[in-house]
């Protein structure tokens, strides 16, 4: 009962949400490869089309997707400006002023780069929007076969809402005792954090201890071979996902061969 969203996961029921997490991870790898392989606008256009299809079938609202891109907007803007003004193309520049010269190739390059970065960020955030952290670690564990790493990851993910809640509780308790976290200079504000950080540290140790005890009580042994309660299984839905991914990579390679390159 608190104002914290759990990671980035967006809980709706959709085709993409129901896909096997392993398939989604593979699809992500295939998608990123395609985006890097694409050497012309046809290829990158195909990638964009697939992304649009994924977004539409995931039922994640478009403003959520755009919010994920917001973080890299400045990076995209700066690099595309550099490309546009400093790329040395062949033939006459479209426009020039001192060291600045705008070539047609520069504009293409910048546009290409923007699309690439945009798609890379969108596809990885689509993975986290449509896959619960638990499903994701399950997938990673199943692919890489290292249980301990997956366990550490899932505990860490599990603890994020736990600790955010704890911070919220401690913060409220100190606010009720008149603590002020919002005013004053830097030093004052940092000092104001002490009454939160110390109880938080102690609580983290307590929670970790409780968890260790609970795992111990259930006979958890790190080195032992384990079986799964819920086994991941590929279904017909995943076949569709696989085919789309395979078609994407093949399509991009074919477009590279037949349509030439912008480089």
């Amino acid at each position: 009962m608190k104002d914290v969203a759990f990671g980035q996961y967006y809980p709706v029921d959709s085709f993409v949400h129901k896909l096997d997490p392993r398939l989604k991870l593979l699809f992500l790898a295939a998608y990123i490869t395609s985006v890097f392989l694409a050497r012309n606008f046809w290829g990158i256009g195909l990638c964009a089309l697939v992304m649009i299809a994924v977004i539409l079938s995931s039922r994640v609202p478009i403003h959520k997707v755009l919010r994920a891109v917001r973080g890299v907007v400045i990076l995209i803007a700066v690099t595309s400006v550099i490309y546009i003004f400093f790329y040395d193309g062949e033939g006459e520049p479209l426009w020039s002023w001192g060291v600045f010269a705008v070539y047609r190739e520069g504009i293409y390059f910048a546009l290409f780069l923007v699309l690439r970065l945009f798609l890379l960020v969108t596809c990885s955030s689509m993975l986290t929007y449509t896959t619960t952290p638990v499903a994701l670690t399950d997938g990673i564990e199943s692919i890489f076969r290292v249980h301990v790493v997956a366990l550490v990851m899932s505990i860490a993910l599990r603890m994020i809402p736990e600790l955010t809640g704890e911070v919220e509780r401690i913060k409220n308790a100190q606010k009720a005792r008149g603590a002020d976290f919002e005013s004053g200079g830097l030093i004052r504000r940092v000092r104001a954090l002490v009454p939160i950080l110390i109880p938080l540290l102690i609580s983290s140790f307590r929670i970790a201890g409780d968890l260790a005890e609970a795992m111990d009580a259930r006979c958890y042994m790190a080195g032992k071979k384990r079986i799964k309660y819920k086994k991941l299984a590929f279904g017909p839905r995943d076949l569709v996902g696989f085919l789309v991914g395979a078609a994407l990579v093949t399509g991009v390679v074919l477009l590279n061969v037949y349509m030439g390159s912008v480089f």
Binding site: M1, K2, D3, V4, A5, F6, Y10, P11, V12, R169, I170, N172, A173, Q174, K175, A176, R177, G178, A179, D180, V194, P195, I198, P199, I202, S203
Partner: protein
């Protein structure tokens, strides 16, 4: 301070798929001087409600400015503070309304118990008339004494204390500013029966000497029935009953259906009635023990 709430609504994570409406049209008045019990199951909205009373949760701004036509205007006043206004002085309010959260011992942080208890005192201190060391020290000692802690613990680290002592120290850290209203969320959570009894006795003492109004939030009906002068029942974000606690016993069946643990005596009466034995049951477990002992000719 009289507390008046009308038509309060609150939604967590509003506008997202995680939205949960925690309060639905809550209307409740708590008179000054009461030992008030708020009863409800986990997630019934009782904690959300009490966090409104010292402004830890504030009414959404949009609602304060333009309430929907069809919804009645929310009202929330705590004494002279109108929490629906934009200009509420929350620091002053928090000094008047002390809040002890569930497991308050987890908020202790300072190097010594005395420093921890003084934390609120220093925060609320008037910027122009800072209290002297002597004033702080005497207020801290008065608070420690009020919660039944020996003066020798003042210079110890709070982490050296036992569980029960830590909880008392944490309560001292709230009452040290002499709030008029003291709110406690599940004050007896995680204590053994003896610890529970001691905490309740402590609250009764504080109710007399330190704070005019005490509000306890609990899911344990016995606790409320034995201690409170008035009680309200929350269920699924609504206030379903406002009753003197003894009345609760007569409504055993209703409350049991709402998923509340009903008092032992009420449970006993329900069972007896099911078997065709009509008994009057507006008494608490303690009364019950007293009556049995009286019948046996002994003194409780």
């Amino acid at each position: 301070m009289r507390i008046v709430a009308e038509h309060l609504n609150y939604t967590y994570n509003a506008g997202s798929p995680f939205a949960v409406q925690a309060l639905k049209d809550v209307t409740l008045t708590i008179e000054e001087g009461e030992f008030f019990g708020i009863l409800g199951h986990t997630g019934s909205g009782k904690s959300t409600f009490v966090q409104h009373l010292n402004g830890l949760i504030r009414l959404p701004r949009s609602l304060r400015r333009h309430p929907k036509r069809e919804d009645p205007m929310p009202v929330l006043t705590v004494g002279e503070y109108d929490l629906t206004s934009k200009k509420t002085d929350y620091t002053a309010l928090r000094q008047k309304v002390g809040m002890v959260f569930q497991y308050p011992e987890y908020q202790l942080f300072a190097e010594t118990v005395a420093a921890d208890v003084a934390f609120g005192l220093k925060n609320f201190a008037d910027r122009k008339h800072r209290p002297t060391e002597g004033e702080i020290s005497s207020a801290v000692h008065a608070a420690l004494e009020a919660v039944g802690l020996d003066a020798s613990v003042a210079e110890k680290s709070p982490f050296e204390l036992s569980g029960g002592q830590k909880r008392r120290a944490a309560i001292a850290g709230v009452i040290v500013t002499r709030p008029e209203v003291l709110i406690l969320d599940e004050p007896a959570a995680g204590l053994d029966p003896r610890g529970k009894r001691e905490i309740m006795e402590l609250l009764h003492r504080l109710h007399g000497d330190f704070c005019k109004t005490v509000i306890i939030v609990s899911h344990d009906m016995d606790e409320i029935a034995e201690n409170c002068t008035m009680s309200a029942v929350f269920a699924e974000g609504r206030v379903t009953h406002v009753l003197p606690p003894r009345e609760l016993f007569r409504r055993g069946e209703e409350l049991e259906k709402m998923g509340l643990d009903i008092p032992l005596v009420a449970k006993l009466c329900l069972e007896l009635r099911k078997r065709g034995i009509e008994v009057d049951c507006d008494f608490t477990a303690a009364d019950f023990v007293r009556r049995i002992l009286a019948r046996k000719g002994e003194k409780a």
